[in-house]
Symmetry: C2
Subunit: 374 residues, 2 copies
């Protein structure tokens, strides 16, 4: 029996992405699976139903859920959708294990096998499945566009008959995937770019993109490619240097986050107050509480002439490409588990083992289990 | 007696620019003039009062107008402000001779000497005074940022572990100053760019910026660097080719205008309907009626999934740099008329002669005089 792989029209507010784009749906169908989509699933990502080939359609989420052995999603399934899943179903998506406890419990209780794309190990072989990275790259690009659009200045230098316009100064804080893409985009637009990361190992990547690395004399390499938290003394030293670079910047893009924890506060109110009026901060970490003390998620706060943009859902604003990349990540993740059109998960594969959130009535991800079950 | 040069806080709705920035105010003061600013004049352009050196301040527009021999402005002075001008005053600004008949009449009746920056001749020597060009360059840059921000796609090509994202296709219509800056900006951002202008002479400029020139087999070189209007047959031929390039584009930026006339309609509804959903048109000519049939000035119209942005006041969205460039244009225009701090206009200079809108109780600009007085 060929596996039925279903995808819903996302129902979370403001979510514009879709988990299956035509290119990937077609590949899954060609691999022998049956692909079942809720009508209009891709519409908000600019993939009309007519763009999908070789798939089947259902008129409601319920109809998709009652037939699908595998359900692909962008956002965590709602409690209602979890109740409607077929017994033994497999769910793959951003399941937000740290934030969505009720949903994790429901997945466990219904004995659903769920894989959280956030938990895919950051090993070389799994790079093509790294959805956090693909979506972060989009967020980094978009953050610079937002900054450029708020700024009352050109990013590039401009030479005209009436003299020269100086290029804008952009500071990027956090040189992960989002930060590096922000640097690259600001450089493309001709800005003078500085970047900072507590992980000194990012220095060469920053420089290779044509940006200057802000040296604070503090390093905080952590496990798994993320930064560890700093000591108070380290923070103070870092802050002194950073504050002066923030004050010099026309636009600041902040991207620092630690998984499962509130975002580190890097830009205090006092630093904002040293910035020139008209300057802009775009805070990609707004959903995790923000890197700036003044950030309010989903809002633009103006403080003494400085705009602080609490950016949320940035990847969704480039829904077409974000969906394209996310769907490819899902395909690369799922492909080894589909043999001749049938589902066969190899639990000895560390990618499946580590990405697994719930299975057979258990929470398999240890930090989530501890947080929920103690 | 040193000439008093005054600048107001602009009062037109949504106008954020200022006619005098600190750098230029200081140069005028150094040349021996007295510079008088209305308090807060530069605030919305991010030039706080404290940034100006060597100037004097007045608490109201009335106080500036009653003392100033020369008044610098961005937008046309209001009728009320014209009435408050000192006898014999000189006004320099964008005076919109074609649109603001009542104001032109009032300037004439009050025997004000007014210079419209729109009328500065497009000769090589006057390039540094060409405010239409300096503001158009800003509009072209901003239009691409707006397009990029509305688009659900990346502009640049992106190569990731999960495969490649294709670059966006941008079509720029009209290769004047705004169009060329739009091309340059879209190229900076990594888009694949095509451009079209009825004036075939722009072909090499377009190509030198890394864009492809759309060949329609129609040319319409006109006088003064602007395009002439096309015949019906030429229009049809142009339209066929253009429509297919519009349909292929993710983003279209239109910049075609003819001074004193409604903007040519280049993108009919049918062409919009051939575009992919999620595509964007940014119409810089919206204030002149728009290049697209669906454009509504100041609004974003969504038609069958295509966004049509009726862009207005684009230069004002980059108020800092726009003011900087405009103020330099004014300085370059005014400089020859200030001798040892006193005003002395050389009427034999074709720049002053041609830029003059009203003087000594007459409308000096012939097309405006005809339109108003017949």
């Amino acid at each position: 029996m060929p596996v039925i792989i279903g995808a819903l029209r996302e129902s979370a507010p403001r979510e514009t992405r879709v988990s299956l784009v035509p290119e990937v749906a077609e590949k899954l169908a060609q691999s022998g699976a049956r692909v079942l989509l809720e009508r209009g699933a891709g519409a908000s990502a600019q993939f009309p139903d007519a763009a999908y080939r070789g798939v089947e359609w259902a008129d409601s989420a319920a109809a998709v859920l009652e037939q699908s052995q595998v359900v692909l999603a962008v956002q965590p399934l709602s409690l209602e959708h979890i109740q409607a899943l077929k017994p033994g179903a497999v769910v793959v998506g951003f399941l937000q294990p740290y934030a969505r406890r009720e949903e994790v419990k429901a997945l466990k209780e219904r004995r659903i096998t769920s894989f959280a794309m956030e938990l895919v190990p950051r090993i070389s072989r799994a790079q093509s499945m790294d959805a956090l990275s693909s979506q972060a790259a989009i967020a980094g690009y978009k953050a610079v566009l937002i900054a450029a659009n708020h700024l009352p200045k050109f990013l590039p230098m401009l030479t005209t008959a009436a003299g020269t316009i100086r290029p804008a100064q952009v500071l990027v804080i956090g040189a992960g995937v989002a930060g590096l893409q922000a640097i690259a985009t600001a450089r493309r637009l001709g800005a003078v770019v500085e970047a900072y990361d507590v992980r000194g190992a990012t220095r060469e990547q920053v420089k290779s993109l044509g940006a200057k690395f802000v040296e604070t004399g503090v390093s905080a390499e952590g496990a798994g490619g993320y930064a560890r938290e700093l000591t108070e003394e380290e923070k103070r030293k870092q802050q002194e240097v950073l504050d002066s670079r923030i004050a010099a910047a026309d636009a600041v893009v902040t991207t620092a986050s630690v998984p499962g924890r509130p975002a580190p506060k890097i830009i205090p109110r006092a630093a904002v107050e040293r910035m020139r009026p008209g300057s802009v901060i775009v805070d990609i970490a707004a959903e995790q509480g923000g890197n700036c003390e003044l950030t309010r998620a989903g809002e633009v706060v103006t403080h003494q002439g400085v705009k602080v943009v609490g950016a949320v859902g940035l990847a969704g604003e480039l829904a077409y490409n974000a969906s394209e990349m996310y769907a490819r990540n899902l395909l690369n993740f799922l492909k080894p588990a589909i043999q001749k059109g049938e589902l066969a998960i190899d639990w000895s594969d560390e990618v499946f083992a580590q990405a697994c959130l719930t299975h057979a009535g258990e929470i398999k991800h240890e930090p989530t289990r501890k947080a929920i079950e103690g």
